[in-house]
Amino acid sequence: MQLHGWEAALFYVLAIMTLFMAVFVVTARVAVHSALFLISTLVNVALLFILLRAEFVAGVQILVYVGGVMVLFLFVIMLVQTRAEEESRVRLYTGQTWPAVIIALLLAGSFYFAMSPAQAAFRPPDATTAIAETAERASAGAGLNISKDTQEVGEQLYRQAALPFEIASLLLLVAMVGAVLLARGTKQEKYYE
């Protein structure tokens, strides 16, 4: 599972775009812009998933995150928009910017030190096998090379993770009921009581 050639170049382009879009999510002044930048980050991450041959997760990311969760976010933003942030005198950030930067540096450092002992295990096992893999993939032809990722994920999901799957459906039901209960207005509350 190594990327090389144009796939590696594509990885770097996607990684840089993802990072920029993520920074724009934090720095955008209007909440709708933040949400749109987050959508673009999520699409970039989905493309990275495709580069990792995880097509099922990429599709779910586009359908569930971009198509479901982010649309929900946009609707709520439009419901509650006060347009106060658009004026330049309104402060966007809390007064905790320096503590936040220090905590972020500590976080990044701890990620680095958590990863560095395991670095040896992350090396690609053998470069020649990777080259052979590419040659094989190229000779197999573009149209015939159907990924088995979705099939494998489905099998594993129902064989190993059937109970978490059912718990997840229950969780979604509870969340749905809770959301309806929390978001009803005073008029509706009177009507039901």
Partner: protein, 121 residues
């Protein structure tokens, strides 16, 4: 090929095998660590409750990227199952959280988290 050779001068596998440019796993993990850190900074410094929520989604997605990259490099599908569950939890969390945000906005006409520091009115 020449362009991508310049780009990954730091990557170890490119030195070992100069003919091919490769992306080692640590680049994926570094990318997701940076994404998570950006999300955490956003949670710390933003004042709008909805933007804080968006940053939480960003952090969840960084974790998903870690899961998928480890699953891809070690050839184990288990990581993608975790991503599936994480996405379910994220969807549930977004639904409940946005409902809470709507009811807060209905009571206070503001989404500034500095003003919403108590749960009761």
């Amino acid at each position: 090929m020449r362009i991508s050779n310049c780009e990954s001068r730091n990557s170890q596998s490119a030195i070992r095998n100069p003919q091919f440019v490769m992306v080692p796993l640590s680049w994926y993990l570094g990318l997701s660590a940076l994404l998570f850190t950006i999300g955490a900074v956003g949670v710390f410094i933003k004042r709008n409750a909805i933007t804080i929520f968006l940053c939480i989604e960003l952090m969840l997605n960084a974790v998903n990227l870690t899961f998928v990259s480890l699953s891809g490099f070690f050839g184990d599908v288990g990581g993608q199952l975790f991503v599936f569950i994480v996405m379910t939890v994220a969807a549930a969390e977004a639904a409940v959280g946005l409902a809470i945000i709507i009811s807060i906005f209905r009571n206070r006409e503001s989404l500034n988290v500095d003003e919403v520091d108590t749960l009761k009115l």
